[in-house]
Symmetry: C2
């Protein structure tokens, strides 16, 4: 544990049954692989020691457009994240505070 | 889905095995019951419609002092949360932006 993180990265891996009629699809859509890709980046770059926290989560909402990644405190939501995007999010957003525009959830979902 | 939430409440239910040598104990310490208590509050007060988001999570760090609850964007961490605390956190922190002092993680952990 390294104190309150400067950023908290949440990756939906949907580990619980959903009340939602359409269910929650992040796991089926590759959420676990995305989480693993972030874990790999965290290990490689020692991001835990640099003030970042990574947590796997249950549903964060727009299941049918997952895998979903949320970054706090700025409250950025990414949709349709692929494992290879983890490095881009780390390199641009975590390191340089530049959210990855092409992955941002539309304002109708997370406006 | 109701847009970007004004607060995102994360409750550790520790659903995954941990690399951490001491493991991650929130589930054993009642994390699922705490999450259920928040779900009940969300349903009763229709908090989803009022700009709040609730998500169950994997490990957020100080497992041996869980169950752990984190509230973003302010980045407040609560430790040792009991199911009956969910209503207090909702009534004081979510409704009136007054974090519940007695449950706050110490600065050594989340400073």
């Amino acid at each position: 544990m390294h104190g309150k993180p400067k950023k908290h990265i949440l990756v939906c891996v949907q580990r619980r049954p959903q009340d939602h009629p359409r269910g929650c699809g992040c796991a089926d859509r590759g959420g676990a692989a995305v989480y693993q890709a972030f874990l790999d980046e965290f290990a490689k770059l020692e991001l835990w020691d640099k003030g970042f926290l990574l947590t796997d989560t249950g549903c964060m909402g727009p299941c049918d457009q997952g895998p979903t990644v949320v970054v706090w405190p700025e409250g950025v939501m990414y949709l349709g994240v692929k494992p290879e995007d983890a490095r881009v999010i780390v390199d641009e957003h975590l390191m340089f505070d530049q959210p990855v525009e092409r992955l941002l959830a539309p304002k109708e979902i997370w406006g």
